[in-house]
Structures are given as structure tokens and as C-alpha cells.
Amino acid sequence: MEYFIHTYCHIKENTISVNGEPFFASAALTVPEFLKEAYQKLAISYPKFHKMDKMSKLALISSEITLKGVENGENVALVFSNCAASLDTDINYQESISLPDNYYPSPAVFVYTLPNICVGEVSIRHGLNTENAFFVSAGFDADKINAYTEYLLQSGKAEKVLVGWLEVLENNYECFMYLVDTKGSIPYSKQQIITIYNR
């Protein structure tokens, strides 16, 4: 079976590009503001978005773009990774328990102190009862992510694979996401992914 990169998307520095073309740019001053504007640009109604942490918001926006045209219930595996895991939200949560006089641990914050929650959010949004994993590595590990993706496809455990690198820590964020599919114009290979990632 031959595989292609169906769609890919970069989100960083207040801009979103899709397949290398500009899709959205914003003058937002904070990360949450930027994410909210990007959500509005998508013109979807998904109130749960506002309850999510930054990483899940980033995952939701990028998957909305890359899974466009994919039907709910298709066998699309999710393979996400990053470097900081959920540290951005971990820092928030730690603050909520650090003062004995103001000790009110928040369940709605705590639940996002696991990096794979964003995988769950995308699975719920797109009805994906599929293979999913969240890995953490110092940088985007094209070798292992590629081997894992190819395993899922060759073993028949998935028909398509959505791969995401979702880094969020305080004011820094970066998202790179692509859908590996049997359809598309860019032939899929590890080298191709590295080339596109560095664009």
C-alpha cells in the first residue's frame, strides 16, 4: 500500500499555515487570545473548547484542519508527542496547591495535567475509537514516530494516522500535524516529514 501526506499544518508565532500556505494570522498578545481567535476562524460551535487547556486547544484546532473531510468513525490513529508533556498546566495546578491559606485544588485543571488528555479530546470531537498514544521526547523524534506510524498502517491496526507534535510551555508554543492517508499528493516518507517539519 502506498501512503501520502494528505494534509499538514503548522501553528506557531501567531500564524497557522496549511500545506505550506498561510491560513490564519493574528496580532493577539497572548497565547489564549490567539487560540480563541483561531477557534473563531474555524467557525465551529464546540463550547467544550473553552474549558480546555492550551495544549488541548492547539490539538483541537490543528486536528479540525487536518481531519477535514475525514468521517467520524473512520479508523484514524492518533500519535501525538511533545517535549514539555503537560508542564504548562502542571505549573498552573501546582500554584493552586502551593498556598496553605488558599488551598483549593481544581479538578478541572488537574484533569489536564496529563499530556494524553488532548488525544482524548480529539478522539471525542471526531468519534475516534482508535489506536492512540502520547510520547515525550527532547525534540520531534521523526525516526520513532515514523516507525510507530508505519507499524500501525502495516499491521492493519489503523487505516490512517494523524501525527501531532504539540509543544506548549508558558508563552511558547508550536504545533506540527499531518495526516497519513492512502490519498494525497505528497508521497509519505520519513525524509519528507523531516523536510516539511523544518519549513
Partner: protein, 369 residues
């Protein structure tokens, strides 16, 4: 594709600092869970399983600093001795929170999971590291990841290490979910009312080499519920599908499975969900257990700790009772093990489920000598 085999393994828990110490404790019915009163962890007393740091009596290398690093070091040391590092080997760390307590001192950089993994890998001369951080299924998924990367010939072997420690961060979080039990937890029991947090570490060596292997990994799967980020699926969807996918890959008749090591956190909803999934997969008659009343929920370590005890159980031909279980407390029956019984165990199914709608299933077959 190549096959993947499990070789040596080790356990570091409140019940012992080796596999044999843990086996002895478990089979004599001991629990590591006790009432704790540690005000800087939680204002009120709580039940948890904690490792006594003084017990190891080891001088640690200077770079091994935090309690978790010490646990992981102790876990991996005999494994590397038994199966020395060679070829394209990968360290796979399974952890949910790693050195999260460093955030109390705002040491964000050092609290990164990849920093922890690389530190341990570097110390043991393993050139590459990867972290699996997928909530409570991490331990099972880490073993599955090793298998998959070996099958794809991306690596020759992997040292899978798993560990989490008890921190104010984690305990307060589960408390805010009102998920902590007011006593020692009781998986699958009518009177269960929540979890206990525990801490522990485990390590194992997995390679494509069959010689001297103890178990073969026949199949694995990790399928999401796509239902809720904290509540388990009412229909056991993801777990049922994970089990089915792993069985299909293993090409076995499900009636041949000798024993199922379940997750069994002892929350109302998790245990109910598992009972439903087991019935949907027609595994309700196969003996099963939860190890949580011995160790508490060790989060990222739990899957590997339980997998290792399952392998010991098969080696010794003895089923481990599901501590804390007296009366059926799920709407559908499952065959929860009540007392230590002798049984020939060749095929093991291990499952786990966790936040984010994650589920994992893994099938192991005992290697014949």
C-alpha cells in the same frame, strides 16, 4: 514482522526491592497500603502505599538524586546486569508525572520527563530514550511500544522502566476528584469507594532475541473510548475493542487465555466498566485480579508492576488473589480470584484504562524451554 520477547525484569515497591520479595509479600496477603498523615501532601490523613527511602541501604551515584531516580536506578540495575546494553537499544520510560515535585521549587527545566529519561539512559550507557506518558495505561503501552519498534526493526531491544512517586500534586488532584478511598481499596467489591495512591518502579528488558526469553508478546492494542476525558465509558467501548484487537493479532482462541490481570482501581465506574468490557469480550469466566489493594494505584508504574507479577504468577503456576474482594459489586459477573490457587498459566491478558479515555491490552505467552 519480527517478534518481541521479554527477558529479565525487576520490581521496587513498598512490598520489596526485588521480584522475590514482592512475590513473597503478595502471596502471603500483605498490603503496602497504610494510613498516612503527611500535612504537606494532604491536610487530612489518607491511605496510601509509600516506599521507605531508608530501606535500600544503597549508596547512590551522585547524579541519581530524587526518590524517583533512585527507584528507577534500583529497578534497572539488575536488569542491565542480566541483559547488558548492546546494539540499537532504547530506554523507554513510562511515567505520568516524573519528577513533578521539582515544580515546588520552580525547577521547570529539570521537571521535564525527557530530562529524567535521558539521565537514566545516559547513566546506564543506553544511547537513546523515549517517554510514554499516557496516563494510567502508560506501563502497558510502554511494553507495547517496545514490541512495535522491535517489530519494525527500528530498535533491537528496549529497557522499559516505569515509575511514579507519591506527591502533594497527585494526591490533592485525586482528592479533588473525590476519588480517594477512606480505607484500603476494594477492587470489584460491593463496598468499594475509591482508590489509594501508591508509588513504585519496575524495569524489564525486551528484545527480538528468543534465546533465554521468558515470555513472548503476542499482541497489543491501545484504543480510545472517545467518550469523556475523565469518566470511563459506560459501555467499556475502548477496553473491549483493545482486547479484541490484541486477541486478533495474537491469533489465539480467547478460551485459551489462562488469566487476566485487570486494572481494578476500585472506583465505582472503572470497575463497572471493566466488568462490562470483559463480558462483551466473553472473558467473564477466566480468572482475573486487580493488584491495587496490595500496591495502591502506582499510576505510570502500575501496568508494568502488574505485568511482572502476572509473569511470576505464570512461572510459579499460582493465581494471585484479588485482595479486598468479598462480594460482587459490578452489575455483570466476572471471575475475580478469591484465593491463591495452583493453575497452569501459559497465556496472560493484561489490561489497563485511564484518564483521557485511554485503554490498553497486551497478550503474553510463556516461552517453553
Amino acid at each position: 514482522m519480527l517478534k518481541a520477547y521479554i527477558h529479565s525484569y525487576n520490581l521496587i515497591t513498598p512490598l520489596g526491592l526485588s521480584v522475590s520479595e514482592n512475590w513473597q509479600a503478595v502471596i502471603s496477603g500483605k498490603s503496602g497500603i497504610q494510613q498516612q498523615h503527611i500535612p504537606n501532601v494532604l491536610p487530612d490523613p489518607f491511605f496510601a502505599a509509600i516506599i521507605d527511602e531508608q530501606k535500600s541501604g544503597t549508596d547512590f551515584p551522585s547524579e541519581i538524586i530524587t526518590k524517583l531516580e533512585k527507584m528507577l536506578y534500583l529497578a534497572l540495575l539488575p536488569v542491565v546486569k542480566a541483559d547488558p546494553v548492546q546494539g540499537r537499544s532504547l530506554l523507554i520510560l513510562s511515567s505520568t508525572k516524573g519528577n513533578i515535585e521539582l515544580l515546588e521549587q520552580h525547577r521547570v527545566q529539570e521537571a521535564h520527563l525527557s530530562v529524567l529519561a535521558n539521565k537514566i539512559a545516559h547513566f546506564f550507557g543506553i544511547k537513546d530514550a523515549l517517554v510514554v506518558s499516557n496516563a494510567c495505561v502508560s506501563g502497558v503501552m510502554a511494553v507495547g511500544t517496545a514490541k512495535r519498534l522491535i517489530q519494525m526493526e527500528e530498535i533491537d531491544s528496549a529497557y522499559v522502566i516505569a515509575g511514579d512517586v507519591l506527591t502533594a500534586f497527585v494526591v490533592s488532584g485525586f482528592q479533588s476528584f473525590q476519588a480517594l478511598s477512606d480505607g484500603v481499596c476494594r477492587p470489584y467489591d460491593r463496598d468499594r469507594n475509591g482508590i489509594n495512591i501508591g508509588e513504585g518502579a519496575a524495569a524489564c528488558f525486551i528484545s527480538a532475541e528468543k534465546e533465554n526469553a521468558v515470555f513472548e508478546i503476542l499482541g497489543d492494542a491501545n484504543i480510545n473510548d472517545a467518550n469523556h476525558i475523565s469518566g470511563p465509558s459506560r459501555t467499556g467501548e475502548g477496553l473491549h475493542r483493545s482486547i479484541e484487537s490484541a486477541i486478533a493479532e495474537a491469533q489465539i482462541d480467547r478460551r485459551e487465555i489462562d488469566f487476566v490481570s485487570l486494572h481494578g482501581t476500585a472506583t465505582l465506574y472503572n470497575d463497572e466498566m471493566e466488568a462490562i468490557a470483559m463480558n462483551r469480550s466473553q472473558l467473564q469466566d477466566i480468572p482475573c485480579n486487580s493488584m491495587k489493594a496490595y500496591y495502591g494505584h502506582t499510576l505510570g508504574a502500575s501496568g508494568l508492576i502488574e505485568l511482572i507479577l502476572s509473569m511470576e504468577s505464570a512461572k510459579k503456576g499460582t493465581l494471585i488473589p484479588s485482595k479486598g474482594f468479598e462480594n460482587t459489586g459490578t452489575t455483570q459477573e466476572i471471575n475475580v480470584i478469591r484465593k491463591a490457587e495452583e493453575k497452569q498459566i501459559d497465556l496472560i491478558l493484561k489490561t489497563a484504562s485511564g484518564f483521557g479515555g485511554s485503554n490498553s491490552a497486551l497478550i503474553l505467552k510463556k516461552c517453553t524451554i
